[in-house]
Symmetry: C2
Subunit: 224 residues, 2 copies
DNA sequence: GCCGGGGTTAAACGGATGTTTCAATCGCCT
DNA sequence: AGGCGATTGAAACATCCGTTTAACCCCGGC
């Protein structure tokens, strides 16, 4: 064990070799997966020697775990999502939650970090635990709390499925974007701005819950 | 080129070596991905020699493509989904579509084949094209047609997003099941039967479109 | 001045992987 | 029976991967 640094942002090419390795590992693992990415390629991208990964992390898998941890830090915690309204009405909280979630999915701060996280979520491995407990779980419980306020009469499984419907809509734009572009063409999909998607998901969800006019109806000019 | 067989179901262990290889490849690729699965392991599982894969397919990637093609055949075409109602009302068509989609996602005929397809969809490669054009595209266009009937006033992008909301809900239960179980516990997630999920997604969607009472309201006893 | 240790490097090692070779075997047809 | 193409078998090949080794460099402290 050699160091204990506060771990800054994504290594800017003149940072510590360790940080550059983590950054290069994020890129490589996000693009090619754990097996597909080679430590030689990672070290080359980081401008370091092949032995560096074993010197700093021990082995390839430890580097992977470190890369995922760094990614979930970079992508931002999710429990801080519904900040704007503290004691606001539940509908407003839900609106804020969806807005934040769609934004992060549609245009994340670090696309590389997000891609790596999604890869780990699709096939959970050793690094999944920290991402789930620190990144996803808080968001899920926050959403469940909001929905419980909004729908006090629903049973537990029903509430769970409502949450899944919300998350499913948000995650779709991140998990199925390549396929969507293949089907409908890149232009048509790219035409959907983050604002359009946000407004749509909010409206679709609120309409389903009876707190907004349904999609078929004409749009309300100013509903706030 | 040696053969041209009608390509039956998933090789039952006494089938052609070629079919056994494809079946074993599906299993291995679905579980470990393209890089993670080794031709030696595949051949061992198929009870064939290492040279067999090169003899029948040329190389590993060709076998992968063949496995994905076979998988999308096994998982069933998607354009045959809204069969029950021919000239039925659009709402009924949508209901049938969602029902079929959720069923296939929640409890597919061949979980292995479905897992392999999902893997390829998450990171499209050489085999993605045939799966998209023959498996996903028909379903997507069928859904768009149904929604267009249902919502003639909507613009093209809005219709697209409605379709994404429907697909997002359906796909969630396949793409995010491991994570959901990590968050809420396997028991709670397993408690959601395919019937419950189907009814929920149908009701959520129809409510959002104004063709069913919202989720918050008490359930309609017999709505048909 | 030199010594020592953290950081770095090039080279090599053992193993695994995709692929190839070539002989042996099987099944069928004349 | 004999021949012949299709298939299978075991071994080898070349390459690549993760990891290790041992020497090297640099720099601050006794």
């Amino acid at each position: 064990m050699a160091r204990a640094k506060p771990e800054s942002a994504a290594a800017p090419a003149d940072a510590d070799a360790r940080d550059r390795l983590v950054a290069a590992a994020q890129e490589a693992f996000a693009e090619h997966g754990f097996k597909g990415a080679t430590v030689r390629a990672i070290c080359a991208a980081a401008g370091a020697n092949v032995a560096a990964v074993n010197y700093y992390f021990g082995d390839k898998e430890a580097l992977y775990v470190e890369a995922v941890k760094a990614a979930h830090l970079c992508a931002g915690r999710m429990d801080t999502v519904p900040v704007p309204p503290a004691g606001a009405p539940p509908v407003e909280k839900l609106r804020a939650f969806i807005r934040e979630m769609v934004s992060r999915m549609h245009a994340p701060a670090s696309p590389t970090a997000m891609k790596l996280m999604m890869r780990e979520m699709a096939h959970p491995g050793r690094a999944a635990h920290v991402v789930v407990t620190e990144f996803i779980q808080p968001a899920a419980f926050a959403l469940r709390g909001i929905l419980r306020e909004l729908l006090p009469a629903l049973s537990e499984p029903e509430l769970l499925m409502v949450g899944f419907s919300v998350m499913g809509q948000c995650l779709f734009y991140r998990q199925n974007r390549p396929v969507s572009e293949l089907i409908f063409g890149k232009a048509e999909v790219d035409a959907l701005t983050v604002e359009m998607v946000t407004d749509h998901v909010v409206r679709f969800t609120l309409a389903a819950l009876g707190h907004a006019p349904p999609i078929g109806a004409k749009k309300p000019g100013g509903k706030r």
